[in-house]
Structures are given as structure tokens and as C-alpha cells.
């Protein structure tokens, strides 16, 4: 396994004239769970979306397992090694949960229908909705949908999982069931990058915290260190505000 798994070099991203990411350089190693936090508009999601080139960045580069995304000849194949989970789940509403999960394994990874379905059933069991395989997304609760979406991402047998505010659209009790699945994933050694406002999850589960503001990484620390001893004034203020809320 190449280390670091993801290497970000002088990355900048503009939306028209707005500079969303400002010359970011950092890297992520295998087996770690890193939480990216910061005020809204700070570039957290943009950074995440550059890692599988869902955003076409204008400057710098991202290396995944040493492969440059900018010069990647087959970006689809590279993406099929990275699972992604979205704020609004984005399950395909016209397909059953089972078909949602088997689509990419079959067509992007060339698995047979039987293999893909066997894998899907295992994953559905893992996220605790084994009995929902035949249902359609809109027939499930929000928490169940997000867990199905996690199963769909895991079906790629990914080397990296990206979570883009996975609990922001959920009710409190559903948040817990999704976070529990994510915690178990991290425990099993999955490499995870998580954009979230769930500071309890960050403190309990993550290995490292990245704090972003204004398109820059302001601070990156081991989790315990970040919470007990935030270095920058902006991170301190952010933590104060967020923890006060609880």
C-alpha cells in the first residue's frame, strides 16, 4: 500500500471568481479517520470533492496512491476505489436498495450479478438493514437511507471513504444510528475523511482533526490535542461556539 494514500499538493479551486480552496497542501495515511471541521463556507466539502475530482480544480494536484488525478487517464476507474457518502444520501430513487448497491460493482468494477448481490447482502447486514434490500429508497427512513448509502459506497470495496456532512439532514435519533455505523467502520481500520459538525463523533472516533477557514487549513492536530489545546484563535472560537451549543 502506498503511503500516504492521498497527497494534496498546492491545491487551489475557484468557483468563478470565488477562491474556495487556497493553496492547500496536506496528506492522508491509510487506516486513519480524519475529521474536517470549520465554519460553513470554509471549503471543507470542496476539499473533499477534489479528492475524487468531483470538482475540477484549477491549480495544484491530488495524488491518490501516487497517481496524479490531473493526469489520470481513467478517472472513472480511480474513482471506483473511493466511496463517497453525501448529505442528502443521493440513493437512486427508481432502483431498489439492492440495485442501488450492486450498480457500481457490476458496471464500474465488472462483478457478476451474483457476486455483487452476495456482497450487497453482507453489507446490508453490516449496516443493520438486511431486511430492506427489496424496498425503494423513499420507503425507508432517513437514517436507513443513509446507512444504505454507506453500504452502496462500501460495495466498491474502497480504499478510502469520503463522508460529506453525512448526518446534517437527519433527526437526532437517526444521527446516532449512522454515527454508530461510521464508528464501527473506523474501528475496522477503514481510511475515512469526514466533513461533519458532530464534535462528539470527532472526539470519540477520529484520529486527527483538520480545522479549515477561508479555504485554508488553519490547524491540523491529533484529536485529543485539538480539543484540549487548540492552537489558533479561530479554532478556539469555533470550538467554544460549537461546544456551548451542547
Amino acid at each position: 500500500m502506498t503511503d500516504p494514500l492521498v497527497d494534496i499538493r498546492d491545491l487551489s479551486l475557484w468557483y468563478e471568481k470565488f477562491k474556495a480552496l487556497d493553496n492547500i497542501s496536506t496528506s492522508f495515511s491509510s487506516g486513519r479517520c480524519v475529521v474536517i471541521c470549520g465554519p460553513s463556507g470554509s471549503g471543507k466539502s470542496s476539499l473533499l470533492r477534489c479528492i475524487n475530482r468531483l470538482e475540477e480544480f484549477q491549480e495544484g494536484d491530488v495524488l491518490f496512491e501516487g497517481q496524479s488525478l490531473r493526469e489520470c487517464p481513467n478517472i472513472a476507474a480511480l474513482r471506483s476505489n473511493i466511496g463517497m457518502v453525501f448529505q442528502h444520501f443521493e440513493l437512486y430513487p427508481h432502483m431498489s436498495i439492492l440495485d442501488n448497491i450492486t450498480l457500481a460493482p457490476r458496471h464500474a468494477k465488472g462483478k457478476s450479478k451474483a457476486d455483487a448481490e452476495a456482497l450487497a447482502h453482507t453489507l446490508l447486514e453490516r449496516v443493520d438493514i438486511a431486511d430492506q434490500a427489496k424496498k425503494y429508497p423513499a420507503e425507508l427512513s432517513g437514517g436507513q437511507q443513509q446507512r444504505a448509502a454507506i453500504a452502496r459506497a462500501l460495495a466498491l470495496e474502497p480504499k478510502l471513504m469520503l463522508f460529506d456532512e453525512p448526518t446534517s439532514a437527519l433527526d437526532p435519533e437517526m444521527i446516532v444510528e449512522v454515527l454508530r455505523v461510521m464508528r464501527d467502520l473506523a474501528k475496522d481500520g477503514m481510511t475515512m475523511l469526514v466533513v461533519t459538525h458532530e464534535m462528539v463523533f470527532a472526539r470519540e472516533v477520529s484520529d486527527e482533526i483538520i480545522f479549515m477557514d477561508d479555504g485554508k487549513i488553519v490547524e491540523r492536530k491529533e484529536t485529543d490535542d485539538f480539543f484540549s489545546n487548540p492552537h489558533s484563535k479561530r479554532a478556539q472560537d469555533f470550538l467554544d461556539r460549537i461546544l456551548m451549543k451542547i
Partner: protein, 239 residues
């Protein structure tokens, strides 16, 4: 005031009228269904390329739609029938003219291409109604652009668009009447001939009207069935 008109409905069952009606009915249904199949394929293709990232493909799609949508169907029929063969190299023109059923083929071509432009516009609006996150989800999972449209975007858009697509399907039956102007023996042309031979215009055009109404009613029933069958459970409400 009484209508001075001698009704003669049974005459419709006598030859040659009966034959003309059967031929007209078959031609109308054939022409419409075949044109519909072709229009759907071209329309989905054109509508989809107008939504891709490639400026070249989008340009081709836009030119197609604006060209075929903005010229009246009647003019297009005449252009295909009278002008198009003249623009072919001489040998080609000769072999085109020697084909059997040239009016029918020309009508099929014109009706398909015209309807495809309208279908393309519906497909485009259907695709733009799909949340951006669906594209992100499909792309991030490693599907290629073609696979994304084939498995995710078009099937989803199609379900949303069934009612508009259905009304386009009805229109093609009604538009097929125009093809009598280039000599296709469809049902309106049969009615016109019957009227000219027998002076029984009411009976003749009743047959044509009833034909259109029954074929379109069949389409409405079929599309309703399809809409129900493809209904997305939990998302699009039962009726």
C-alpha cells in the same frame, strides 16, 4: 330546420371504401408507431447530448433542435419530398425514386426527425429536473458518463416525463394526417377520397375522426398503465 342529407353508413363497409379505410388505418398506425420509435431514440440521444459537458456535442444538439422544431412540419414534409432528392447525387436520386413507398418513407423520415426535436426538449427538461447530487453519486462511484446516463439519469428522467412524453405520442398520430399532402394513403387521405367519390363527407370524416380518437385513447390507456408500472414506490404518489 332539417338537415337535407341522405345518411348512408353501410356504404363504408362496401368496396372500394372498406379497402381504403383498412389501408388508411394501417398506414396511419404504422407510420405513427414507427416514427414514434425512431423519434424516441433520436430524441433521447439529442436531449442527452445537450446536457453533457462537451461544448461540441451541446452545439450539435442545439442546432438539431432549433432546426427541426422551428420549421413547420408541412414545410419539412415538402422539403424532404421535393427538395431533398434533388440535393442527392444523380445516381442516388434515381435509386431513391425507385424505392417502393417513397411517400411513406419520406413521411416517416420527416415525422421522426420533427418529433425527435420535441422529444429531445422534453428529455432535456426532464434531465435538468434531476438533483445534481444524483450525478455526483453516479460519478463518484466510478461509472462512466455513458453508464451514468444509461442506468441512472435517463431512467429517472423518463419516469418523471411520462405524462409529457404521452402527449407527444398523441401528437404524432394527429400530425401524421399532414402526410396526405405528399401522397401517403393514411386515414385522412382515405376519408378525402371517399368523400370525393361518394359525396358522403359526414360518413367519411367520421371514420377518420373515430380512428384518431380510438388510437389516441389506446395510447392514453397504455401510457397510464406504463406510468403506473414504472411508478417509483414511495416517491411518485399512487393515483
Amino acid at each position: 330546420m332539417t338537415l337535407k342529407y341522405d345518411f348512408d353508413w353501410p356504404m363504408l363497409l362496401e368496396d372500394p371504401y372498406r379497402e381504403w379505410i383498412i389501408e388508411g388505418f394501417i398506414n396511419t398506425v404504422y407510420l405513427s408507431l414507427m416514427a414514434w420509435g425512431i423519434a424516441l431514440m433520436i430524441g433521447i440521444f439529442i436531449g442527452t447530448i445537450r446536457m453533457t459537458r462537451s461544448p461540441m456535442l451541446r452545439f450539435i444538439g442545439t442546432v438539431y433542435v432549433e432546426f427541426f422544431r422551428n420549421i413547420p412540419l408541412l414545410v419539412q414534409l415538402f422539403v424532404w419530398f421535393f427538395v431533398f432528392p434533388l440535393m442527392l447525387p444523380h445516381d442516388w436520386m434515381m435509386s431513391w425514386n425507385r424505392l417502393p413507398h417513397v411517400p411513406f418513407l419520406t413521411a416517416l423520415l420527416a415525422l421522426s426527425l420533427f418529433t425527435a426535436a420535441r422529444v429531445a426538449e422534453h428529455i432535456r427538461s426532464g434531465i435538468s429536473s434531476i438533483p445534481k447530487g444524483q450525478f455526483d453519486a453516479a460519478t463518484s462511484s466510478g461509472l462512466t458518463q455513458v453508464q451514468m446516463y444509461r442506468y441512472v439519469i435517463i431512467p429517472y428522467a423518463f419516469r418523471v416525463m411520462i405524462p409529457t412524453i404521452a402527449s407527444e405520442f398523441l401528437t404524432i398520430f394527429k400530425n401524421s394526417a399532414l402526410t396526405l399532402t405528399i401522397g401517403v394513403s393514411e386515414i385522412t387521405s382515405a376519408a378525402k377520397s371517399i368523400e370525393a367519390w361518394s359525396f358522403h363527407g359526414i360518413e367519411a370524416y367520421s371514420v377518420a375522426s373515430v380512428t384518431y380518437m380510438t388510437t389516441t385513447a389506446t395510447v392514453v390507456l397504455f401510457m397510464g398503465w406504463l406510468e403506473h408500472r414504472l411508478r417509483i414506490p414511495g416517491l411518485i404518489a399512487k393515483k
